[in-house]
C-alpha cells in the first residue's frame, strides 16, 4: 500500500499542487493572458499514464478547486476538465504509442476543446470574455507540452524506481 502511495499518488498530488500554484501565481497582465492551462496539461498526462487511479473523478475535483480559486461559475472548469480527461482515458492506449509530435497535436486539440468549453459556458452564462488573446493559452500550452511531458515522465520514472 505504501509502495503504491509512493509511486502512484505522491507524484500526482505533488505535481497537481505545483500546477495549482502556477495557475494562480500573479503575473503582469500582458503575460497573464498567455498563461498555459497547467492543470489541464497535468490532467491529460496523468490520465494517460495512470487511467485507473486518476480519471474523471479526480479531474472533476481539481476543476472545482480551480473554479473556487478563479471565482468562476462553480462547475465550469470541472466540466471542461472532466470532458478532456474522459477523451484522454478513452484513447490512452492509442496516445501512449503516439510519437511525441503526434501526441502534441492531440494535446493541442484537447486544449482547444477545453478552452472552447470554457468559452461556451461563459457565453451561455453571459460572462463577458471576448478577446483574440483568449485562445493564447492553447498555443502556449501546446508549445510547453513536449517539455512538460519529458519532465513528468522523468518524475514518474524516478518515483517508480525509488519505491
Amino acid at each position: 500500500m505504501s509502495r503504491e502511495l509512493a509511486s502512484r499518488r505522491l507524484p500526482v498530488i505533488g505535481t497537481l499542487f505545483v500546477g495549482l500554484m502556477l495557475s494562480i501565481m500573479p503575473l503582469p497582465d500582458s503575460i497573464a493572458v498567455f498563461r498555459p492551462d497547467w492543470l489541464a496539461l497535468l490532467a491529460i498526462f496523468w490520465a494517460m499514464q495512470l487511467p485507473r487511479t486518476w480519471s474523471v473523478g479526480t479531474a472533476w475535483i481539481v476543476g472545482i478547486i480551480l473554479d473556487v480559486s478563479y471565482g468562476t461559475l462553480l462547475g465550469q472548469h470541472a466540466l471542461a476538465l472532466c470532458v478532456i480527461v474522459f477523451i484522454t482515458v478513452r484513447f490512452h492506449l492509442l496516445m501512449r504509442v503516439f510519437p511525441l509530435s503526434q501526441l502534441t497535436a492531440t494535446v493541442f486539440a484537447l486544449l482547444a476543446l477545453y478552452q472552447f468549453l470554457l468559452f461556451w459556458i461563459n457565453g451561455v452564462a453571459s460572462v463577458s470574455a471576448a478577446a483574440a488573446t483568449y485562445w493564447a493559452p492553447v498555443i502556449t500550452g501546446t508549445l510547453i507540452w513536449p517539455f512538460l511531458y519529458m519532465f513528468l515522465s522523468g518524475v514518474r520514472y524516478r518515483a517508480r524506481t525509488a519505491s
Binding site: M21, R35, I64, V68, Y70, G71, L73, V89, L93
Partner: protein
C-alpha cells in the same frame, strides 16, 4: 470478430467511464445553474475556499518574503530620509486634520439645523492584497480578510487616494473583490464641482473609466473630480473616484464621450482599506447615532 475485439479491449477498459463522466457533467451543469441563477452555493464555495487558502498563502509567500527582505536590508540613510519625509507628511496631514475636525463639527451643526440626516465617519480596516491572480479578463483581486473579520458582499474598498473596488465574494479568511476598472462594474458618481450625477463604468483598462451617460451639453470639463454619490447604496458618499481626463463632444451623437482616470493607483496598491459604512454600522450596533449626538447637544 466480436470476441477478438472484446479480448483486445478488455484489459484496457476502465469500468463505467462513460456513465461516470456523464454523471459528473450533469452535476457540473446543475452546480453551474444553481451558482448562476441564485447564490445557493456560497457555503460550498466558502468551504472549498478554506482548502485553497494554504495554497494562496504559499503562492503569496515569496513576494511577502521579497518585501520583507527589502525592508530589512534598507540602508540607514534611506531609512532616515524616509523618516524625514514621513514626519513632514504627518505634520501637513495633522494641520489639515485640525481644520477637518472643525469643519466636521460645523457640518454636523448645519445639518442638524437643516434637519438633515447626520453624516458620520465610516469605520475602516486595513487589508492586504494577496499576490494571487484570478483571471486576466476580469479585474479582480484577493484580500487577506474574510467573513471571519466581518467582511460582507458589496463592501466598499478604498486606498489612500480613492475608491478601488468592492467585495464580490466573501470567503472565510480571504475575499475576492472587483476593481472599478472591470468591464462589469459601474459606480454611481457625482462631479465634485457642481454635483452633476452620473455613472462611471469600467473599461477593462486599468487606468481609464468611461462616463457613457452624459449628454453633450452636460457641465463637465477636464480636471473635474468625481466622487462617489452614495446613491447605489454600496459605496458611502464623498470618496474620490477619478479625475476627468478627456471630454469629446460629438455634435451628431446624443451623448458626449467622457473618460476619467481613477484616482487610486489600481495596479500598484498593496494595502487597501475596507469601509464599514455608517448605515451598516448603524444597523448592527447603533454606532451611527453616537457620534452625531454630542454636537447636537452642544447646539441646544
Amino acid at each position: 470478430m466480436v470476441d477478438s475485439r472484446g479480448n483486445s479491449r478488455n484489459p484496457a477498459r476502465i469500468p463505467a467511464l462513460g456513465i461516470r463522466t456523464l454523471a459528473l457533467v450533469f452535476i457540473s451543469i446543475v452546480l453551474m445553474y444553481l451558482d448562476h441563477r441564485e447564490n445557493h452555493l456560497d457555503a460550498v464555495r466558502k468551504g472549498i475556499g478554506v482548502a485553497v487558502y494554504p495554497i494562496q498563502l504559499i503562492v503569496d509567500a515569496p513576494l511577502r518574503f521579497w518585501a520583507w527582505l527589502g525592508k530589512t536590508t534598507t540602508s540607514r540613510s534611506d531609512l532616515e530620509r524616509e523618516l524625514g519625509r514621513l514626519n513632514a507628511e504627518r505634520l501637513l496631514t495633522n494641520v489639515r486634520l485640525q481644520r477637518l475636525t472643525a469643519l466636521e463639527a460645523e457640518n454636523a451643526r448645519l445639518r442638524a439645523l437643516l434637519d438633515a440626516r447626520g453624516k458620520v465617519r465610516d469605520d475602516v480596516r486595513v487589508a492586504e492584497i494577496m499576490a494571487v491572480d484570478a483571471n486576466p479578463y476580469e479585474h479582480n483581486l484577493v484580500i487577506d480578510i474574510g467573513s471571519r473579520d466581518g467582511v460582507y458582499d458589496g463592501q466598499a474598498i478604498v486606498d489612500a487616494d480613492g475608491v478601488v473596488g468592492q467585495v464580490i465574494k466573501t470567503g472565510l479568511m480571504t475575499s475576492q473583490a472587483v476593481l472599478i476598472s472591470d468591464t462589469d462594474h459601474a459606480l454611481p458618481v457625482e462631479v465634485n464641482r457642481n454635483g452633476l450625477r452620473t455613472i462611471a463604468v469600467g473599461t477593462g483598462e486599468i487606468d481609464r473609466l468611461d462616463l457613457p451617460f452624459l449628454p453633450n451639453n452636460a457641465d463637465i470639463r477636464t480636471g473635474d473630480l468625481l466622487v462617489t454619490s452614495g446613491l447605489g447604496g454600496a459605496f458611502p458618499a464623498g470618496y474620490p473616484v477619478a479625475v476627468v481626463d478627456t471630454v469629446t463632444r460629438i455634435p451628431q451623437e446624443p451623448f458626449a464621450d467622457v473618460n476619467a482616470k481613477p484616482s487610486a493607483a489600481l495596479d500598484q496598491v498593496r494595502e487597501v482599506m475596507l469601509i464599514w459604512s455608517a448605515s451598516s454600522i448603524g444597523d448592527e450596533d447603533g454606532n451611527a447615532t453616537v457620534e452625531v449626538d454630542p454636537v447636537e447637544m452642544d447646539d441646544e
